[in-house]
């Protein structure tokens, strides 16, 4: 990677390279960096999204930690994101290994498992909503499973499980493909040698497969968690944050409070905390996973 770009034999950078990047730099700054900075700025004000505003110092930030609705949103979002991340990675890795095995119709199955990734999660969410509210209770009734005869989405304690199922259903599609790409980098010779030595399938997985796809595992864990922490569409179509506010995610709360609730300044303060949390988690996760990977 490092030796490829020879310094252009001591010459100055042709000016044309600057022309290639400057428009992108300006537009990116206007639509990404400026909103980011103005968001941070307004988080110190009581701006409602319209009309007059004044500086309120850190009071938005202090109030955040005393606001049950905010704390509840963080609690739900983290519970959801951690459970979904673990579930989606376990399931995707298992499916990818099976797909990489000696099975018939490989490409066909691969194509089927990828379907959820090309569908709008919002629309699929509406179908799942019907499935959870009507189909599952009806089936449970017929089978005599009392616990499931009412919709899981209607119960504040179980609604989050519905969101997990929908999210894992969709996210698995992408992760399977990534793991499959990783598995295909491992030569079959390694397994041949291992089975000649009498290693069991589990042993082969632990000593060959998993260490060799470590990089893919790390990246999938980090990206899944980061994506799940930003959950939005799934909730809009499944529960709309309900029952009550039991499945209100941080993104949904920022959107609702900021747009509909006249809490622009307050919710941007929430978003700043959220930004710090996401960055911190991504870094911690990368550090831990990389160290673990190296210890193999």
């Amino acid at each position: 990677m490092s030796t490829l770009t020879r310094p252009n034999v001591g010459r100055k950078t042709p000016r044309v390279f600057y022309f290639m990047v400057l428009p992108a730099l300006v537009i990116f700054a206007v639509f990404h960096t400026v909103p980011l900075l103005s968001g941070i700025y307004f988080s110190f004000t009581n701006y409602a999204g319209y009309g007059e505003w004044s500086f309120v110092g850190l009071s938005n930030y202090i109030n955040l930690f005393r606001d049950d609705r905010i704390l509840n949103a963080y609690g739900f979002t983290f519970l959801f994101a951690i459970v979904s991340t673990v579930a989606v990675n376990v399931i995707s890795l298992a499916v990818a290994i099976a797909l990489n095995g000696r099975i018939k119709f490989k490409t066909g199955f691969r194509g089927i498992f990828f379907i959820p990734n090309i569908l709008s999660i919002l629309i699929v969410g509406y179908v799942f909503n019907y499935l959870f509210s009507n189909s599952v209770p009806a089936i449970a009734q017929a089978l005599g499973i009392n616990a499931l005869t009412t919709s899981i989405l209607a119960d504040a304690d179980t609604a989050w499980i519905g969101v997990v199922i929908l999210s894992v259903w969709q996210a698995a599609a992408f992760n399977i493909i990534i793991y499959l790409a990783g598995l295909q980098t491992i030569g079959g010779e390694l397994y041949e040698a291992a089975s000649l030595d009498g290693a069991s399938s589990w042993r082969q997985f632990r000593s060959i497969t998993f260490p060799l796809i470590g990089a893919f595992f790390t990246i999938n864990m980090v990206l899944s968690l980061k994506n799940f922490l930003q959950v939005f569409d799934q909730i809009v179509s499944l529960t709309a944050g309900g029952p009550g506010t039991s499945t209100e995610s941080i993104s949904l709360l920022i959107y609702r409070g900021g747009f509909e609730g006249g809490e622009y300044g307050y919710q941007t303060a929430n978003a700043v905390i959220y930004l710090i949390v996401i960055i911190a988690i991504s870094f911690v996760q990368l550090r831990i996973l990389q160290r673990r990977e190296a210890s193999f």
């Binding site: 639509f31 990828f114 569908l119 990534i178 390694l190 569409d233």
Partner: protein, 297 residues
């Protein structure tokens, strides 16, 4: 999605000598139990789609039960009704316009920016620019959400054009990451030869590099297409005119209703999912391998 494959096992392509015959046969034998298991698992993907199809073909009074029963006499009128209720042609046109625009603009601009960065990474300015774009990957969208909406409204970009621009800008971070890695694996000799022949950097990029980026363009194009086509949050907050509604947004109409007509709603969902699903049916191999390539670069 950007694991470095080279840090994992290098693909050992050297022939490993004649393997014992029994082992060879064992390796190529189909494992039917595993195939059956995979087939069973793939049902979890298909069941929700099946539910959507049968529901879309029912009359409202056939709805009771588990929902998995086959419809008695398919009611195709549901689709006609859905077509007019959500103003399907208009929504489809909007979505197609935004998606095609976003994909084209992304391919043309992001690859060029990545080229300039990749060939000058040893210079402080370009290195800084690279890190600046990549850092944005860690910024969650909600923090810029409210300000971006204000900004686009002020600039008169609260429409399809604004969406095209935003997808191109927000995709930049990830796409540059993918493109730069790929461009740096292209040997410099070609460019140097062209340079001595008197070709300008523009010509070199458009004539030599851009065509060589084919596989990466496919990957970036596919991912951008899926994103722009299915995205919900950005159109929800950016578009101010209901006539500009995209397909996912148009489905909202069924939510506010007091008594949802499920068959019509489901027919509409299927209509919205169908275009991409059809494209995927024909280009499946290509799409999946495109996404896989993005993950190993």
């Amino acid at each position: 999605m950007t694991a470095t494959a080279e840090s994992a096992a290098p693909r050992t392509s050297a022939p490993s000598g004649p393997a014992p015959k029994a082992l060879r046969r064992d390796r190529t034998k189909i494992n039917w139990w595993l195939t059956a298991l995979v087939a069973a698992c793939s049902l979890t993907v298909l069941i929700p789609l099946y539910l959507a199809v049968v529901t879309a073909l029912k009359t409202p009074d056939q709805l009771g039960g588990t929902g998995f029963e086959l419809p008695i006499g398919a009611r195709w009128e549901n689709f006609a009704e859905a077509w007019t209720t959500v103003k399907f042609p208009r929504a489809l046109l909007n979505t197609a316009l935004v998606t095609v625009g976003a994909v084209l603009l992304t391919l043309l601009t992001n690859s060029m920016v990545a080229y300039a960065i990749a060939r000058n990474l040893h210079r402080r300015f370009f290195k800084g620019l690279y890190l600046y774009f990549i850092a944005a990957l860690f910024v969650p969208f909600p923090i810029i959400l409210l300000s971006v909406v204000k900004e686009t409204a002020i600039l008169g970009l609260d429409n399809q054009l604004g969406l095209i621009l935003l997808y191109t800008v927000y995709g930049l971070s990830f796409n540059i990451f993918v493109y730069v890695a790929y461009i740096r694996s292209i040997p410099l000799e070609l460019e140097e030869a062209a340079l001595t022949d008197g070709a300008s950097t523009w010509t070199i990029f458009w004539r030599i590099i851009f065509p060589l980026l084919g596989p990466m363009n496919a990957t970036v194009g596919i991912l951008t297409c899926l994103w722009a086509w299915n995205d919900f949050l950005l159109p929800l907050v950016i578009l101010s005119d209901p006539a500009a509604q995209t397909l996912p947004l148009a489905q909202f109409i069924f939510q506010g209703q007091f008594n949802t007509n499920y068959p019509v709603a489901f027919a509409s969902y299927l209509l919205a999912l169908a275009p991409l699903l059809l494209v995927y049916l024909f280009a499946q191999r290509w799409v999946v391998s495109g996404v896989m390539r993005g993950s190993t670069k």
